[in-house]
């Protein structure tokens, strides 16, 4: 299968990328291309110009900076999977990386590209909701930061302007008493999630301090389970509290019945995975507490 014809540009600087996006209507950024090329081949999307950012300098690397992590726009899933930084307090991110698509796709696809693609089945959208990440965006008028909560408007739709580029995603340091988990049900490796749950918990003197819960594949965007977070925050994480929060997370899910399961089934998966994820995250957070 061939995509429709398009022009191809391979700029070497962020400024050139933004200029190319501004000058050309119907231009689209390509990083790893692991979502864009398939949709171009299937011709469910077409673009006039592909702006390939793989030769742009300065967009790589995962590093600790400004009280958190910065992950550049060309960081591939495989780098996140192997990064010693994405363990312990950032363990949610390492756990997510291991479950994105399949190993071959992880060798090419990027975290920021996944966020920009805004597929509600995307894993990083949920993980970054739970970790309270934000993307740094460059455009013709300079730089701005968009919280991941504000990024996605619907399936494949974002608040990014056509001439803006995500240059990095930032994740605030949640502190040492933090644990995370990403649980995903998939029919086979590389399939889209039937449902998945991202959880990050920071403990504070035996109670839950900060908590983030993001849901994959059960709505028009990745979904923050706000009521579940609110119910847990500040409380002692008893079995009842965890089960209650998981029920609230399931209520926040708005899944569609399809060949991966009925809506009720998916909602139940969210509940069970949320409960398991919270237990894993809390126990990891407590291990960081000592």
């Amino acid at each position: 299968m061939y995509p429709s014809r398009f022009e191809y540009l391979a700029p070497t600087s962020v400024e050139e990328v933004i200029a190319a996006l501004g000058e050309r209507e119907g231009a689209k950024v390509m990083a790893g291309g692991q979502s864009l090329i398939p949709v171009l081949k299937l011709r469910v999307a077409s673009v006039d110009t592909v702006v390939d950012i793989n030769r742009v300098a300065g967009l790589d690397g995962i590093e600790e900076a400004d009280g958190g992590l910065r992950i550049g726009a060309l960081v591939r899933h495989v780098e996140a999977e192997r990064s010693p930084l994405l363990t312990k307090r950032y363990g949610l991110l390492g756990a997510t990386a291991r479950l994105v698509a399949d190993p071959l796709v992880r060798n090419r696809g990027t975290i920021c590209g996944s966020l920009a693609h805004a597929d509600p089945q995307g894993d990083w959208g949920s993980a970054m909701l739970a970790a309270r990440g934000s993307v740094v965006v460059r455009g013709p008028n300079g730089e701005r930061t968009i919280a991941v909560d504000e990024l996605s408007l619907g399936p494949f739709m974002t608040t990014l302007q056509p001439d803006e580029l995500i240059t990095e995603v930032r994740v605030p340091d949640p502190g040492p008493r933090t644990g995370g988990a990403y649980l995903k049900l998939e029919r086979k490796v590389g399939d889209f999630a039937t449902a998945a749950v991202a959880v990050q918990v920071t403990m504070d003197n035996g109670s839950v301090g900060q908590v983030g819960i993001g849901l994959t594949g059960v709505g028009a965007t990745n979904v923050r389970a706000t009521a579940a977070e609110d119910a847990l925050r500040g409380s002692e994480p008893t079995d009842e509290a965890i089960a209650g929060a998981a029920r609230l997370a399931a209520e926040a899910a708005e899944p569609q019945s399809d060949n991966r399961g009925t809506a009720d089934y998916k909602r139940n998966v969210v509940r069970v995975y949320c409960e398991r994820g919270l237990r894993t995250a809390i126990s990891a957070a407590r291990a960081g507490e000592e």
Binding site: Y2, R5, F6, G33, I37, V50, N54, R55, P103, N107
Partner: protein, 167 residues
Amino acid sequence: MTQLESPTTTGLHTVEVTVNGQARSAQVEARMLLAHFLRQTLGLTGTHIGCDTTSCGACAVLVDGTPVKSCTVLAVQAHGAEITTVEGLAKGGQLHPIQQAFHEEHGLQCGFCTPGMMLTSVAFLKENPSPTDEEIRWALSGQICRCTGYQNIVNAVQAAATTMREA
């Protein structure tokens, strides 16, 4: 910025790559996929196209040593890269240890997925020369085989690992 001719004139881009140690170059359309470039432009038909939807991994090749799905990379993106296809595994009439192992362990039946399986395995064994079966299954989990049930593929990769450790 890489300067490229306007598609209203020719729409072609120069791709210069090293494939299995040989310098190759061609003029291609931007939309040409690496898999088609290898098969049609260079005539290296050992790279198989299975699903064409980034699902099966049959088309896996090594780009600068990293296994990727060549149906999901543009040929023009490979400009400057070193590519290894299944045709590059045997040297001087001698099968590569991974090929020998797939042969001896019956790691294939129809053989369609085999080039991709072997190339991913070669890259994997470079990183992990003494893997567990579980690690092999994880490394190959992006690739589908409809014949073997995978067990003999895992056996073949283990056998190749042993040969390559002793070499």
